[in-house]
């Protein structure tokens, strides 16, 4: 599903070149549940952004569903993101002036889905995330856990094949964080490929596969399916 071949991502900081990703080779199959761990600055988020087509590789090849998406033009990247990839961020990134339901609806609006088709999908998502009584509240009227559930609903409303979560529990208390992870795992069980960037080793251990990154390289790629089967 995801094939990264000799990926490099360099940034120019002043006159120095920083190798954020250094010769990354990664293959992800559909339905996998992967955690990416590593210290700050190890390239976890850069890798996630690159997989999510928010960023482009300096060198190397990225195949998504066997299609080379390394140098797609902007419109095609956007279309691919819209159809294939959902994002969940640590800071939620909800639009404060829109209600929970309107935030969830946003990808459908941007995709040009007709209102009569949007509304049942939004209602279903709101119901699945247990947000029915909060649907018309703005983000500031919601708790952290509720905000992240809105963000997950928004990320999955287009029924993407891949869900990318960058520290999804970073701003949440333990209970809310647990709920969010449970939801992500449930989505994975429904067939969505889930890739989580996390600092939390407990969360990292729950995935079926764990990547450890150091200095822009994948230091270890560990299959945890046996241990996580007992979770």
């Amino acid at each position: 599903m995801i094939e990264l071949i000799n990926i490099h991502r360099n940034f120019l900081v002043g006159e120095q070149t920083v190798h954020a990703l250094d010769d990354i080779n990664l293959s992800v199959q559909a339905g996998e549940y992967i955690s990416i761990m590593g210290p700050s600055g190890s390239g976890k988020s850069t890798l996630l952004n690159l997989i999510g087509l928010l960023d482009s590789a300096t060198e190397g090849t990225y195949l998504l569903n066997r299609q080379d998406v390394t140098a797609l033009p902007d419109a095609l990247r956007a279309a691919t993101r819209s159809k294939t990839i959902g994002f969940v961020f640590q800071a939620f990134h909800l639009i404060s002036r829109l209600t929970a339901a309107e935030n969830i609806e946003l990808p459908l609006v941007l995709a040009g889905t007709a209102p009569e088709q949007r509304h049942p999908l939004v209602n279903k998502a709101v119901s699945e995330m247990d947000l029915t009584d909060r649907a018309h509240h703005t983000p500031e009227q919601l708790s952290g856990g509720q905000r992240q559930r809105v963000a997950i609903a928004r990320a999955t409303i287009m029924q993407p094949a891949i869900l990318l979560a960058d520290e999804p529990t970073g701003n949440l208390d333990q209970k809310s964080g647990q709920d969010v992870i449970n939801i992500l795992e449930q989505l994975n069980r429904q067939g969505i490929t889930v890739i989580i960037v996390t600092h939390d080793s407990k969360i990292g251990q729950r995935a079926t596969r764990q990547l450890k990154m150091v200095d822009g390289r994948i230091e270890s790629d560990q299959n945890l399916s046996q241990s996580s089967a007992s979770r």
């Binding site: 928010l54 960023d55 902007d74 819209s82 961020f89 800071a91 946003l106 609006v109 995709a111």
Partner: protein, 404 residues
């Protein structure tokens, strides 16, 4: 993948509502710009309308003869103040009546003299003319009769007085039939001018009108200040002008020593001057609209930097650069449109206030100014938002999502 227009409008509307201070500031800038264009051009047009009305009120198909001649065409200020190398006389006026294209002639003589009735007296302007003056100038009588239709050279001791003179000299007494003294001569009041008898340069409410021959005697002068001629038709004006010049040239030993202007020429001159004035003030106000456009650009640039994370979230959710540009442009165009509408309303309200304060000034914004103001505001909103929109579309995703 294309967001529908209604969704774009809805999204932009929510963004405008979400940042009320910014929205109000931009609306204010744009609406003041549009209102300025509307009001200033309305003032220019009002001034033009006012002058046109005043000149139209002088009479219809009017040709005016001044003593003295300048090579320049149109209105001659020197001639108007009476530089007279050769006098215009009553005989000149008499001869002109033979032209079949002329309907009426009113020779004019003016002066100022002391008027008195019993113990009351005051200095008054006096117009010496003929019975035709009333019709030529479209004046109205409030009471009595105007000057009798007699030969021009007959100095009948009668007068028609303005309403204010009547009030000042006669107070509550009846004026018609009474004798007043002008200088050392006595004149019988035969009529009172109506309230409508006001036109440019002359306030007939404050004037006494006597036969032209009487005025010549009173002021001891054989010359005329000017001759007012009413042509029979509009198309005859030019031929009346040319024949008047030819007749007077012949009578004055082959010298052209009069200036003949037509009402149309005067109107056209004022129309040109005031038209240019309207364009000038409209242009100045247009600059304020452009300034409002620059303000929109600045505020939109700030807005883009404030909403970096939101814009890149939209990208993360699948909005291509073109869609981001459309969203930002749509916000700016909505602002410009609302600003233009509010500005139009404010401008029209201002024009209404001007008309209420100065009823003689027809301060209505011309259609071209209204359309131009709307077009410029929309265009400046669009053009000045392109830069912020493009900047938004090119935001660095990684930095944006980190909120930097």
């Amino acid at each position: 993948m294309k967001t529908s227009r209604s969704d774009i409008v809805r999204f932009s509307w929510a963004a405008l509502k979400g940042y009320p201070t910014r929205t109000i500031l931009m609306l204010l800038a744009m609406s003041i710009g549009v209102a300025a264009v509307v009001m200033l051009t309305a003032l220019g047009e009002g001034a033009r309308g006012y002058v046109t009305n005043e000149f139209t009120a002088l009479g219809t198909n009017l040709v005016i003869v001044f003593p003295g001649y300048s090579e320049t065409s149109g209105l001659n200020p020197i001639a108007m103040v009476g530089s007279t190398p050769r006098d215009l006389t009553l005989d000149d006026a008499q001869v002109l009546t033979r032209n079949t294209n002329i309907r009426r002639i009113a020779p004019i003589n003016v002066g100022a003299i002391n008027a008195s009735f019993q113990a009351r007296s005051r200095e008054v302007p006096v117009i010496g003319s003929s019975s035709e003056l009333l019709n030529i100038r479209h004046w109205e009588l409030a009471q009595g009769h105007f000057l009798p239709a007699t030969d021009l050279d007959r100095a009948t001791p009668v007068c028609v007085i303005g309403n204010r003179i009547r009030n000042e000299l006669f107070a509550t007494q009846a004026a018609v039939g009474q004798w007043i003294r002008l200088g050392d001569r006595r004149f019988r009041v035969i009529g009172i001018m109506g309230s409508e008898g006001r036109s440019i340069g002359v306030d007939v409410q404050d004037t006494i009108i006597i036969p032209v021959a009487s005025a010549q005697q009173l002021f001891n002068t054989p010359s005329l200040f000017r001759i007012l001629i009413e042509a029979k038709t509009r198309s005859a004006i030019e031929s009346v002008k040319q024949s008047t010049i030819a007749i007077l040239k012949e009578r004055h030993q082959g010298k052209r020593d009069v200036t003949v202007i037509t009402q149309d020429a005067v109107l056209a001159t004022f129309d040109r001057i005031l038209g240019a004035l309207t364009y000038a003030v409209g242009g100045i106000a247009g600059i304020s609209l452009a300034v409002a456009g620059i303000l929109i650009m600045n505020v939109m640039l700030v807005a883009v930097s404030q909403r970096t994370a939101e814009i890149w979230l939209l990208k993360a959710l699948g909005a291509p650069q073109r869609q981001i540009i459309r969203l930002i442009l749509s916000e700016a165009i909505m602002l410009s449109t609302f600003g233009a509408i509010i500005g139009l309303l404010l401008g029209e309200l201002g024009c209404f206030a001007i008309r209420q304060a100065f009823p003689d000034l027809p301060a209505y914004a011309p259609l071209w100014a209204v359309l131009t103001a709307i077009a410029v505001s929309l265009l400046s909103g669009f053009i000045f938002s392109l830069l912020p929109a493009r900047q938004a579309a090119r935001l660095d995703p990684v930095l944006a999502l980190r909120g930097k």
